[in-house]
């Protein structure tokens, strides 16, 4: 088995391009005259567009590189497309956001690209250490990005907290990897799959390895009870970074997590599904209930993103319960679909929060949305649609996502889980709708210079247009995305 051939470099061209662009941004930033620095954002965007084209062209041609360490299959391509898309939106949003916050660092775009590269490695690697490396590259970039608002203690606190807990969880993940290596003699997922076939979690080594891996990923996915860092980090970080974390980092973690558990530990499906069932129920209950009492929009959305990880986990649990049957792919497909749809609505909501200004500072309290419908009807309508979609009410993307995860739960004979999740979906409607209530049904006080308003800019408009198009189009006609998600799950067996 050869570990390297020049052709492999061609296969990972998207990753290489992203890294190259990150380096170029880092190098050019100090030497460029400041009036040209906008060009760095456009450079990043251009790279992402090229990458998406390349990835789309790889879609139909599965390959593996570096002796099977990296897989270029439909599954990886699905996530990579999604991640590049989110990174593109992040660059666009940040372009307006950083200007508004007077927060300019050339490294910012470089960190977005580096984090993206880490995520792309995570979802395409079929070897545990490569996945770990990807995770670290992503996390390290995000730690820095979370603390970019250097003048604000909250941002620094977020960064420090994220770093400590992130490092801790990485340690646990690594420990799990090493135990799994001990139990199976390999760090490659196919080899692990062969080794665990026919075994169960009665084997203590395998049990501990699985639990540690589960906990490590649970930290990254922000699943209860490993979610403690999320609200503080999401609230403290610059909002454009929060959006990136809430969407891209979650998607990438799910991508790696599903590959490890469905492909590598697929033989233990029924065993590990119990672990995730507990996490799933705890996440649904706690995420939704705690979100009820938040007064800060960013915090509310943080808890909402925790809750949404819970909904996605339903698909994971269902996959486990369906075991080796041909239908078990439905569970994974529903997770992929859920996260893809979640991307549009969550990013859209964060984009609006990011650009809502109260005087010169960010308006991030729920009260700050008071009367937005009267002053800026279009912005309020967009936020309304995002909230309705997050609550899972048709005909929006959120409903389609929920429909499919619940369907996989019922298919796996876990109707009670679907009932429980739906009841908490109804609970969630309360806090999403509260924002609608504030926007539409409360009269604004006298309009002054300090009244909150949405700062519109061309790049923000593009972000919002993409998000709303996704929410509405996939809410009404989701078929293409459903097919894509079904196709993407095929390589996982």
């Amino acid at each position: 088995m050869t570990f390297f051939s020049p052709g492999d470099l061609f296969l990972i061209l998207p990753e290489l391009l992203v890294i190259a662009a990150a380096c170029v941004v880092l190098i050019l930033d100090p030497v460029m005259p400041s009036n040209l620095k906008d060009g760095l954002a456009w450079l990043s965007l251009g790279t992402l567009a090229v990458c998406m084209g390349l990835i789309a062209s790889q879609m139909g041609y599965p390959a593996s590189a570096f002796g099977g360490v990296v897989a270029i299959d439909a599954y990886a391509c699905f996530w990579k497309l999604l991640l590049c898309f989110v990174a593109g939106l992040t660059v666009l949003l940040s372009y307006s956001y950083l200007k508004e916050e007077r927060l300019y660092f050339g490294e910012y775009y470089a960190f977005v690209l580096l984090a993206l590269c880490g995520m792309m490695v995570m979802v395409s690697a079929t070897e545990l250490l490569a996945i770990y490396l990807g995770t670290e590259l992503m996390s390290l970039s995000l730690y820095v990005m979370a603390g970019l608002k250097r003048s604000e203690p909250r941002s620094l606190e977020a960064s420090a907290k994220y770093f400590v807990l992130g490092a801790f969880s990485s340690g646990i993940l690594l420990y799990g990897i090493s135990l799994l290596y001990g139990a199976t003699g390999s760090t490659r997922l196919p080899a692990i799959a062969d080794a665990v076939a026919g075994r169960s979690l009665d084997d203590p080594l395998l049990l501990f390895a699985t639990i540690l891996l589960a906990v490590g990923f649970a930290f990254k996915l922000a699943v209860v009870p490993f979610h403690m860092w999320t609200p503080d980090v999401y609230q403290g970080a610059p909002t454009s970074v929060t959006a990136f974390m809430a969407v891209a980092s979650k998607a990438a973690s799910f991508g790696a997590f599903l590959r490890v558990f469905a492909e590598g530990l697929g033989g233990l499906k029924t065993d590990w599904s119990t672990i995730f069932l507990v996490l799933c129920v705890a996440t649904l209950v706690l995420g939704n209930v705690v979100a009820l009492v938040q007064t800060n929009v960013k915090r509310m959305l943080a808890y909402s993103s925790i809750a949404h990880a819970g909904y996605a986990l339903i698909g994971v649990v269902a996959t486990g319960r369906l075991g080796g049957s041909a239908d078990s792919a439905h569970g994974i497909a529903s997770v992929l679909l859920y996260l893809a749809l979640y991307t549009f609505m969550t990013f859209g909501a964060f984009a609006i929060v990011a650009m809502l200004r109260k005087g010169s500072i960010e308006g991030e309290e729920i009260e700050d949305f008071t009367g937005l419908a009267r002053r800026q009807p279009v912005a309020a309508l967009l936020m309304l649609v995002f909230m309705v979609s997050l609550a899972g009410i048709p005909p929006t993307a959120g409903f389609i996502g929920k429909f499919y995860v619940f369907m996989s739960a019922v298919e796996a004979d876990m109707t009670w889980l679907a009932v429980l999740a739906l009841i908490f979906a109804a609970v969630s409607a309360y806090y999403y709708l509260r924002l609608v209530l504030v926007m539409y049904m409360r009269e604004p006080d006298a309009i002054t210079a300090d009244s909150p308003r949405l700062v519109l800019s061309p790049t923000l408009s593009i972000v919002l247009a993409c998000a709303i198009a996704g929410v509405v189009i996939f809410g009404i006609y989701p078929d293409p995305l459903i097919q894509l998600a079904a196709q993407a799950t095929l390589p996982l067996k």
């Binding site: 009410i393 009932v419 739906l422 309360y430 709708l433 209530l437 049904m441 078929d479 459903i482």
Partner: protein
């Protein structure tokens, strides 16, 4: 009858397209555009009445298109004798809702009208959907516009009412989604409503699914004890919102029972009949009793709705032709009568800005035309023979009498109490001495308001005197439901005999006026006691 033109799609999407047009046009034209769109929708729906083939129990005007490939979810619309009258009622009421809001809505006219149009599209969609997922999408899509209608243009306590309405109905309908999914996996992997209605399901599963359906539909109806959102929502909603709520939204609950619970879950429906009967009777009596105590006109009508909808659920769970046809009749009639009453309250409110009975006394002198309409609707609401509600309530009671005499006796109490609260309300509002301070405000109906109330007054008498065209269109479809629900043998056979002489006088007049496209096809089916003699009356 099939037509090549997709009429139902047009009916559903014309209002939605109209809502888009509103935002392209000037705000000042919003009222007119909406009126034109709703009238156009009405005009499109009217021919369906004649094109509909009453002899067939099949879905008609069926349209099918692929929507989602895996699992197979179709865009499928169609009509039968149960949904046809409800759709016509919806399209008929919407222009009136636009007209009543013409002056009373001053802020955000464009948004308001857009909400009305979205509601219209979704409501027609609910009644026409033949795919369960499609049904659910329309069913839920209605929540947000209604929430905004109440919350943005409602009364002083509108926020509370809007949130309560939203959470109640959402909490009820989430279980519906699970039930739909369970049916999918048990019923041969299909979401097609007609296919699901032919499946056989295990007893245990039927019981659970019935409960889930019940949660969704009983909240919507609303059945006792899930009715508490209704008075709040009705009172706080703007007039058009109250009309839509009372006339159409409540019917979606009973429509759900009739379309899904009965044919899909016949065993469970039978098993839960005692519960449904008890809850219906409690609703009838309790609603009426509460209505007696109200001092707010809208609240009085809201509680009377609880009572009247109790008749509908009672009729549905009698599983005989009188009960179910009476229930469908009552659904349409309640839509017309209660819609009319809410419109009347809207008219007064525009003048006196109060809905309290005490603030609106003695309106006959200053507003004779208005008082006439109010009295007509009130008499219709209490079921005076000759008005529409009499037919429905009478048939429900006749059907109940055949199955369960004590229940019929108790339900009759509702009619007596209805007479009490309605007449008492009329006595105070129409007769009495108006306060001098109010007199200058009390102008009689304007031509616009006449145009709103007159069509409903006509319908009250038209259906009251000539119910047969409506009943004929239901027979086949209701027969199909009954064949599915009830054991074939004795119940329908005895049913044919009894009510015949009682309804006959109405029949004779009916046959003279009715336009029937296929008189030769209208064979009286075995349990159509109500129409037996029409043919011979026509003959001479």
């Amino acid at each position: 009858m099939t037509t090549s033109w997709p009429w139902l799609t047009v009916l559903v999407f014309l209002p939605l397209a109209g809502a888009l047009v509103l935002y392209l046009a000037k705000e000042t034209g919003a009222r007119l555009i909406t009126l034109v769109v709703t009238v156009a929708d009405l005009l499109i729906s009217i021919p369906l009445w004649w094109w509909f083939d009453p002899s067939s129990s099949h879905m008609q005007f069926v349209e099918t298109a692929a929507w989602i490939s895996s699992p197979k979810i179709q865009y499928k619309l169609g009509l039968d004798g149960i949904s046809l009258p409800l759709i016509l009622m919806t399209t008929a009421l919407m222009p009136l809702c636009v007209l009543i809001s013409w002056r009373s809505i001053e802020t955000g006219v464009r948004n308001f009208m857009a909400m009305l149009l979205i509601m219209e599209g979704a409501m027609i969609g609910v009644f026409a959907a033949l795919d369960f997922v499609l049904f659910y999408v329309f069913w839920e899509a209605m929540l947000i516009p209604m929430y905004l209608l109440i919350g943005m243009w409602g009364g002083p306590n509108r926020l509370y009412a809007a949130v309560k309405f939203f959470l109640y109905t959402l909490a009820g309908s989430v279980l519906l989604l699970v039930a739909i999914l369970v049916l999918y996996f048990q019923g041969g992997h299909t979401f097609d409503i007609q296919e699901l209605a032919q499946g056989t399901y295990s007893h245990t599963m039927q019981m659970w699914v019935f409960l889930a359906f019940f949660a969704a539909f009983a909240v919507k109806v609303p059945m006792f004890p899930f009715h508490t959102w209704l008075p709040d929502a009705h009172v706080e909603a703007p007039t058009a919102g109250s009309v839509i709520l009372a006339s159409v939204l409540l019917k979606m609950g009973t429509y759900g029972f009739l379309r899904f619970s009965l044919p899909m879950l016949p065993e469970a429906s039978q098993a839960f009949t005692p519960l449904m009967v008890v809850l219906s009777i409690v609703a009838i009596v309790y609603g009426a009793y509460m209505a007696l105590a109200q001092t707010d006109l809208k609240k009085l009508i809201a509680y009377s709705s609880v009572s009247h909808m109790g008749f509908v659920t009672l009729g549905l769970f009698m599983f005989n032709i009188q009960g179910i046809e009476g229930a469908v009749m009552q659904m349409v009639n309640h839509g017309i009568t209660t819609g009319g009453l809410f419109l009347c309250v809207g008219v007064i409110y525009e003048r006196t800005h109060s809905r309290q009975i005490a603030d609106n006394v003695g309106l006959t002198k200053p507003m004779p035309r208005f008082a006439t309409c109010l009295v007509i609707f009130a008499l219709s609401s209490l079921g005076l023979p000759g008005t529409n509600s009499f037919v429905g309530e009478f048939m429900v009671l006749a059907g109940t009498f055949l199955m369960n005499k004590p229940a019929a006796a108790l339900a009759s109490l509702g009619i007596i109490l209805a007479a009490a609260y309605m007449l008492w309300m009329v006595q105070r509002v129409a007769f009495g001495v108006p306060s001098q301070a109010l007199l200058p405000k009390l102008q009689d109906l304007t031509p616009r308001e006449m145009a709103i109330l007159a069509p409903l007054v006509v319908l009250v008498f038209l259906i009251g005197l000539f119910p047969n065209p409506l009943l004929t269109r239901m027979h086949a479809s209701v027969g199909k439901v009954i064949a599915r629900t009830a054991p074939p043998a004795p119940a329908p056979a005895t049913a044919t005999q009894q009510p015949e002489p009682l309804i006959q006088p109405v029949e004779r007049e009916a046959s003279a006026l009715v336009i029937m496209p296929h008189p030769e096809k209208r064979e009286p089916s075995s349990f159509t006691g109500v129409t037996l003699d029409t043919a011979e009356v026509r003959a001479p």
